[in-house]
């Protein structure tokens, strides 16, 4: 009984662990996307200061 329970818990545990890594990666990608967007906005702002006439 104990061995069977252990085997099933290992399976569920490994799935949960992998799902957690996927969720953590998703959060990281979200943060990267925000940072990249900020970077793009900052680059645009910098460009507008450098070339005010072109705006």
């Amino acid at each position: 009984m104990g061995f069977v329970a252990a085997a099933y818990l290992v399976v569920v545990g490994l799935f949960a662990l992998y799902a957690l890594t996927v969720a953590a990666r998703q959060r990281l990608i979200g943060e990267l996307a925000e940072a990249a967007q900020d970077g793009a906005v900052a680059a645009e702002a910098k460009a507008s200061v450098r070339h005010p006439v072109s705006r």
Partner: protein, 218 residues
């Protein structure tokens, strides 16, 4: 995607309940035989994941298209997850049935080799990011698949403690319908989980590639 996720959850609950509470006890092994209902699906998903990793790796080496590399990478990762599950459930089953957690049996040893090969695949990817690392990993992805037929035939051609195949045999499955049905549900559950994880990870890798292109272009 949401429908697939709900189906995976439901199939998992039904499959595990059926396997643990409703399936009959096996005459010789008794209760520990129920580990087979999660062990066999793990093996099948390992074969599927690493088969796709091989296809992705080979096509990436041939065409150089990053999409194939993404498929190979994600499937390599999933392959390690399922081969870990296979080894873990196998050793837990071995203790009550064989009286030992581990023995250097042909099938067990070749399966452990498989784990090392694909952990190596992921280590190469992590240590050498970019196209060079992807190409080196793809070579491992192509060569590593050679271990799969070794694993499959080791229990048939060599003297081994591991049980002979009872489901995928030329003569047809040796299991009774009362055991085959819960096994089928569990295989479907594992397949649904595999697909959910595959699609999620592929989407993440695609987004990451777009972000890298965006940052590099800025």
């Amino acid at each position: 995607m949401r429908l697939l996720l709900i189906s995976a959850g439901l199939l998992m609950i039904v499959g595990m309940t059926w396997a643990l509470a409703l399936a009959p006890d096996e005459a010789i092994q008794g209760f520990p035989q129920r580990i087979m209902y999660v062990h066999v699906p793990s093996v099948l998903m390992t074969y599927l994941a690493l088969g796709l990793c091989f296809v992705g790796s080979a096509l990436f080496l041939w065409r150089g298209d990053r999409r194939w590399d993404r498929l190979a990478h994600v499937c390599g990762e999933l392959g390690v997850l399922f081969v870990t599950m296979t080894l873990a459930t196998g050793t837990i089953w071995g203790r009550p049935v064989w009286g030992t957690w581990w023995t250097w049996d042909a099938r067990l040893t070749t399966t452990l080799m498989l784990w090392f090969i694909y952990v190596g695949y992921l280590v190469v990817r992590a240590w050498a990011p970019g196209t060079r690392g992807a190409r080196a990993a793809a070579v491992i992805g192509v060569i590593g698949i050679l271990d799969l037929p070794l694993i499959h035939w080791s229990a048939i051609l060599l003297r081994t403690l591991h049980p002979q195949p009872t489901v995928f045999r030329p003569e047809g499955p040796a299991l009774p319908a009362s055991m085959l049905a819960p096994l089928g549900v569990n295989v479907a559950a594992f397949l649904a989980i595999f697909l959910v994880l595959l699609f999620l990870r592929l989407r993440q890798e695609r987004t990451l590639d777009r972000l890298v292109t965006m940052v590099e272009g800025a």
